[in-house]
Structures are given as structure tokens and as C-alpha cells.
């Protein structure tokens, strides 16, 4: 058995992250995350972590996703700390003193980028990127310039195809497990975002009146909300199962992580689309509290890969 938090500890952790996340909306959350020990919290104590394991990472990601913070916990709190565990840079990352991005091809576990530029994701201000080089080695390369923005405000880089930088010893071996944990955290993040969207939509259906009655009294609305609630429960069920399996070192863990992500994309896509449609015009606007979450889910699907890619990786895992 690897690190596995007790249920009561997980609830305490979730509550403290939720408090932080509510306050950190609209700010750069990384200093606060570092201060609270939430970067690399899933690492063992020997590696400087809090033994929170995959379930702890999922709890952190869920609350960050729910609040729609300008962070990608699957990368900043999970993948980068796991891949750099035991290095000086890793220690700096966990302390909030260094910021490292991750390349798209690494997320795909595909060494070949065919000499083409590739994308990288991570915290604003990162100066280095973890990537897979042409030989499949994990490499830490300099980022070519300042970040650009994605539509939800998070950072993206376009990186020229260089095989420069330092090879991280043992990184490629650590990759499969680290990616599974990152994907589990990404799924948890999505469940947080879609859970908040669902609650906002349900509240709006109760309060908004049209044709002389609450929207929620129309049977078509009721049935659609039921289907959203089922989609949400499905995503939560698989996200939780993936994190528990990772902590239990269950041989199905990597498969479950892909399954959790497929379900997160499926449920999240439905909930995001319906949240906009059911909110009507308001849901189309920047001003709606739903907007950052709709964008977050839409962006993350492309960052971590869509359903079809992960159906294949599920079968291969």
C-alpha cells in the first residue's frame, strides 16, 4: 500500500483547499498553494510531500476546479512535482520558488513531435518545460519566451522543436504512473468544475421564471437536470475510483485514470453545453459565474486530450 489518506483527513483537506480557493479567485494562486503545502502534497514525506496520495491530489484538484482558479493542479500540483521528486528543482517547485511547464507531447506520452513546434502548459512565469525528446527521454528545456494566454486566462507556450536542455534521469520510468495520477487529478478538477456548474444551473432553474412559472417546473427542464445529475455522478464515481486505485496500487489504476478522464470529458462536455443553453443569454456572457468553468472544461479537454484518444489509451493501458 502506498500513501493513502483516511476519509476524514481527506474531508479536512478538501475543506481547507475550498476555503483557500474561494479567496484566491482572480489571483495567482501558486504562492498560496505552495504555502499550504498543496504543491506535491501527494509525494511521500521523504520526498517532501504530505503523503496525501492520489486521493489527496484529487481532493485538491476538485476544489481548485470548483473555484476555477488560474491553475492546472494536475500539472502544477501533481505531474511536475512527481517527475521532479528528489531533485533540487523539485524542492523549489514545491516551495513555490520555481515554476515549470509541461509539453503536450509529454501529456500524450508520445516522444515524436516530428520536428514540429509543440504546445506547453503550466503556470504563468514558468521558464522551463518538461518534455519528451525524440528518443523518449524526459528532458527539462528552457521555454522560448513569455507565455501567451488561453481563453480562460491560463498560460500556453508554443515551443520550437529542440532537443536541448537537461535529461532527467529516471524520468521516463516514472512517467506512466505520474501521468495516470495527473489524469486522475485532471478528472477530479473537471468534476469540481462541472459540480459547480450543475449547482449554479439547478439554482437558476429554481429561481428563473418564464411563461409565468419557474423554469424548473417545466418537465423537459426537469428531465435534462436529471440527466446532468447522472452525468455528474458518473464522473465523480470514476474519478474517485481512479484515485483510490492509484493509492491502492491496483493494477487497473492506469486504466481507471483513462476511464475517469473519458467520463470527465463526456459528462463535462454535456454539463458545460447545457449550463450555457439552460442559462439562456446570460450563460453566453463573460459576466456569468458559469463562464470561467465552461471555458475551463472546454480548454482542459484539448489540453489533456479528447475521448477518442483516451479510448485507445484505455485499451492499451
Amino acid at each position: 500500500m502506498a500513501a493513502m489518506m483516511e476519509k476524514s483527513d481527506l474531508e479536512v483537506l478538501a475543506r481547507s483547499v475550498a476555503r483557500f480557493a474561494d479567496e484566491a479567485k482572480g489571483t495567482d494562486p501558486l504562492p498560496g498553494l505552495a504555502e499550504l503545502g498543496l504543491i506535491g502534497a501527494g509525494l511521500s514525506e521523504a520526498q517532501g510531500g504530505a503523503e496525501a496520495g492520489a486521493q489527496g491530489e484529487a481532493a485538491i484538484a476538485t476544489e481548485i476546479g470548483r473555484a476555477g482558479l488560474q491553475a492546472t493542479p494536475a500539472l502544477e500540483c501533481v505531474l511536475v512535482p512527481l517527475l521532479l521528486a528528489g531533485t533540487d528543482l523539485g524542492t523549489q517547485v514545491s516551495a513555490g520558488a520555481a515554476r515549470v511547464a509541461v509539453s503536450g507531447n509529454l501529456l500524450d506520452a508520445r516522444p515524436d513531435h516530428a520536428g514540429l513546434p509543440f504546445t506547453a502548459f503550466g503556470p504563468e512565469g514558468a521558464t522551463q518545460v518538461l518534455m519528451l525528446d525524440g528518443s523518449g527521454a524526459l528532458r527539462l528545456a528552457p521555454l522560448p519566451g513569455p507565455a501567451r494566454q488561453m481563453i480562460d486566462g491560463r498560460a500556453i507556450w508554443t515551443v520550437p522543436p529542440v532537443d536541448a536542455g537537461t535529461v532527467i534521469a529516471g524520468g521516463a520510468e516514472a512517467l506512466p504512473l505520474a501521468l495516470a495520477r495527473a489524469l486522475s487529478a485532471a478528472a477530479a478538477d473537471a468534476t469540481g468544475a462541472m459540480g459547480a456548474l450543475y449547482e449554479m444551473t439547478l439554482a437558476y432553474m429554481r429561481e428563473r421564471r418564464q411563461f409565468g412559472q419557474a423554469l424548473g417546473s417545466f418537465q423537459t427542464i426537469q428531465f435534462r437536470m436529471v440527466d446532468l445529475s447522472i452525468a455528474l455522478e458518473e464522473a465523480r464515481a470514476l474519478s474517485g475510483a481512479a484515485a483510490r486505485a492509484l493509492d491502492a496500487q491496483d493494477p487497473r489504476a492506469a486504466q481507471l485514470a483513462h476511464a475517469a478522464w473519458v467520463q470527465a470529458v463526456t459528462s463535462g462536455g454535456l454539463i458545460a453545453r447545457e449550463a450555457v443553453q439552460l442559462h439562456g443569454g446570460i450563460g453566453m456572457t463573460e459576466e456569468s459565474a458559469t463562464a470561467p468553468l465552461v471555458k475551463r472544461l472546454t480548454v482542459d479537454e484539448q489540453v489533456f486530450g479528447g475521448v477518442e484518444a483516451h479510448l485507445g489509451r484505455y485499451r492499451a493501458a
Binding site: 424548473g216 427542464i221 436529471v226 445529475s229 455522478e233 464515481a237 474517485g240 475510483a241 476511464a259 473519458v262
Partner: protein, 391 residues
């Protein structure tokens, strides 16, 4: 919410699974695997095997004379059971009549009916739906008028599964006209051999005749066959519907069928067909989610007792997944599923392409699962009102 599964639980499940696999007759397994229709003897014969080890009334407490499993053990047992191609046991006695009689009946009724149910000596059917009251049970109109120490029953039930095989029916009947349609409904146990009962089979799309119409013409039922209080039957009926819903995910069975489809596809060299594979994997992931939702609900109800209306989610997704699987199987076999051989489906002749032949009938037959047991529309009504609070 996670379930605590002890080593003893695992050992119990492993032993039960091994026992089931060893006992299931090969010819019966093949019938189930090939979607061949079962006879009453197929079903009761197998229930006899189960009952001999007290595995038939599997959900019953020790007090009821059952094995007294914990919810976790029960879940693990169902998983083992679903993994083998065994018939789904008739539930009307063990999961419906039995629990209601135990909960709301009197000692004489318990002593008279429960052992026979547990030991597979009586075959039961359920008299709920009527032509004018399918998903809307409150509007039922089959009447029971009191005459001395008998109720005289007149009216009609429909969609009565296996009424043509049944010894007993538990029925909801109207004993009074109440202010609300739910009032004045009573829960009656009716001996199917009583004069005045006519059973007419209804063939379904696939050619099978598991459903029936049951007509009551001045059928005299002794008052001692009333369960609980006269007029309180609606509450007992609802008790059962919630019970039923939980067990209707069919996840374990779907898991087995998924494996069979993968085997069939491998034999047909279709595992390099990405379109087919993606359909299969999508269903597999939906099934994983269903299994985990079931576990979560089990964990939540482990402390709190009976499952809440959230169980409607399991019924909805479980039946949708079962239909998706049967459709995938039909599309996999394609034209090979088109020969419809009644003799084969009745188990009277070997099929020339037996694996494929039942796929069409199975798909048509499975359309029922989103309709019965409270249609999926009714489940969504329950969820929107009782869970989401929308009205």
C-alpha cells in the same frame, strides 16, 4: 464514500463463486449464453439448486430464514452470480412478496408463506400494472369487495410476468374509493388456482410469451390473505418499487455480456475495427461508472438502511447500458443474427449459428427494461422531484 470489504467477505465471495460455477448445469449455461428461452423447469430446477444452499432467498435476514448476508456480502454475491451465465432467478417471491409479508404481514402469514418462498416451493407473480395504469399505478381499478370473510376480486392485470407459471400472485387492488387515488388500495395474496382467474399470454416482439393478461371474474380471496391494513397497500407497493430499483442496475450481468461480446468479436477478427472497439470501450467505461455508483450507493446505505431515490439513477443507466450492449451485439453479428428459428429459441433444436441467432430476439426483448419496473420516465420524475427538488 468507500465500502469496507473484509478478508472474510472476499473469502465468502470466492467460495460462493466457485460453488455457483461448479453447480451451474452446462446445458442451462449454454441456453442463457445463446439467449434461448427458458422453461419453468429450467428456472425452478436451478432455483432448487440455489435454495438447497439457502442461496435463493439471498437477500433474506437470518430472522426470515435467509443467509443473513451483510450488504457488502450481498453485493459481492451478486457480482459473482452475474459473472456466470445463469438465469436471473424469479424475484417476485424472494424480493417482493417475501419482504412485504415479513414487514407488514402477521405471524400466521409469515409462517404460511415465507418458508415456501425461501425453499422454492411456490412460484410467485406480481399483480401491479393494469391496462389503464402502467407507470401510473395510483389509478388502478381492479376491485376487491368485502363479502363476509372473503374479498371478491374483479378486474384485470397486465404485463404479469410468468403469471402462467405462478402458484401465487401478490396484487394491488382497490378496496375503497379514496379522496386521493393512492388511498383505498390494498395488498392481497391470491392463489392462482382460485376459480374465476383467466391467464392469457401476451407475445412480445421477439416472439416470447413471458407476459400475461390476468382476468379476475368474481374471484373469492379469503380475508386472511390481506397483508397489513386494508387501504394501506400503496405504501407497501412503494416500499417494493424502491427495493426493485436498486437491484435493477444489472451491472454484473452487463459485465458478463460485455466479456462475451469481446470474445465473439475476437473470434470474428473484429478487434482491429476501431469503430467497433470505440463503441465497446465507451460502453465498458459507462459500465465502470455504473459499478462505482452502485458501490457508492451501497456504502451510503450501509449505515442508513434501505436505498433512497438515488437508486433510480442505477435503474436508468443500468437499463440503458444493457440495451446498448444488446445493440452492439446485434450489429456485431449483422446478417448472421437474422435467421429467426422458433425451434432453436424454444430450445427444441440446435441453432446452425447459435451464438449469433439469439442476438436479434435479445435486442427486441430488452426493449422492455426501460419500460418495466417503473419506466425510465417515471424514474426521472422521481429523481427530479425527490432528489433535485424540482416541481
Amino acid at each position: 464514500m468507500t465500502l469496507t470489504i473484509t478478508e472474510a467477505d472476499r473469502a465468502f465471495a470466492a467460495e460462493a463463486g466457485a460453488w455457483l460455477r461448479a453447480r451451474l448445469p452446462a446445458d442451462l449455461a449454454q441456453k442463457v449464453r445463446q439467449n434461448i428461452r427458458l422453461t419453468r423447469d429450467d428456472l425452478t430446477g436451478w432455483q432448487e439448486v440455489l435454495a438447497a444452499r439457502n442461496f435463493y432467498a439471498i437477500g433474506w435476514s437470518r430472522e426470515m430464514g435467509g443467509p443473513g448476508l451483510t450488504p457488502v456480502q450481498r453485493y459481492l454475491f451478486e457480482r459473482e452470480y452475474g459473472a456466470i451465465p445463469a438465469p436471473h432467478p424469479c424475484q417476485f417471491g424472494i424480493s417482493m412478496a417475501g419482504p412485504v409479508i415479513h414487514a407488514f404481514g402477521n405471524d400466521a402469514q409469515r409462517a404460511r408463506f415465507l418458508p415456501d418462498i425461501r425453499e422454492n416451493r411456490t412460484f410467485w407473480c406480481q399483480g401491479y400494472s393494469e391496462p389503464g395504469a402502467g407507470s401510473d399505478l395510483a389509478s388502478l381499478s381492479t376491485s376487491a369487495r368485502r363479502e363476509g370473510d372473503h374479498y371478491v376480486v374483479n378486474g384485470q392485470k397486465i404485463w404479469t410476468t410468468w403469471a402462467h407459471w405462478a402458484d401465487w400472485m401478490f396484487a394491488l387492488v382497490r378496496t375503497a374509493k379514496g379522496a386521493r387515488p393512492q388511498e383505498g388500495i390494498s395488498f392481497l395474496l391470491i392463489d392462482m388456482k382460485t376459480p374465476g382467474i383467466t391467464v392469457r399470454p401476451i407475445k412480445t416482439l421477439d416472439g416470447e410469451a413471458e407476459f400475461n393478461e390476468v382476468f379476475f371474474d368474481e374471484v373469492r380471496v379469503p380475508v386472511e390473505n390481506l397483508v397489513g391494513t386494508e387501504g394501506a397497500g400503496w405504501g407497501y407497493g412503494k416500499f417494493l418499487l424502491e427495493y426493485e430499483r436498486f437491484s435493477m442496475s444489472g451491472a454484473a450481468r452487463s459485465r458478463r455480456i460485455l466479456g462475451e461480446i469481446r470474445e465473439d468479436a475476437a473470434a470474428m477478427g473484429r478487434l482491429d475495427d476501431i469503430t467497433f472497439l470505440n463503441r465497446l470501450t465507451r460502453i465498458e467505461i459507462a459500465l465502470l461508472a455504473l459499478e462505482e455508483m452502485e458501490l457508492a450507493l451501497l456504502a451510503a446505505s450501509e449505515a442508513g438502511g434501505k436505498p433512497g431515490p438515488e437508486a433510480s439513477r442505477l435503474k436508468i443507466r443500468g437499463t440503458e447500458i444493457a440495451q446498448d450492449l444488446s445493440r452492439l451485439r446485434l450489429d456485431l453479428f449483422g446478417r448472421r443474427a437474422l435467421v429467426h428459428d422458433e425451434a432453436f429459441l424454444e430450445g427444441e433444436a440446435p441453432g446452425e449459428d447459435a451464438q449469433a441467432q439469439g442476438a436479434m430476439a435479445a435486442w427486441l426483448n430488452l426493449r422492455k427494461v426501460t419500460i418495466w419496473g417503473g419506466s425510465n420516465e417515471v424514474q426521472r420524475m422521481i429523481l427530479s422531484k425527490q432528489v433535485l427538488g424540482l416541481r
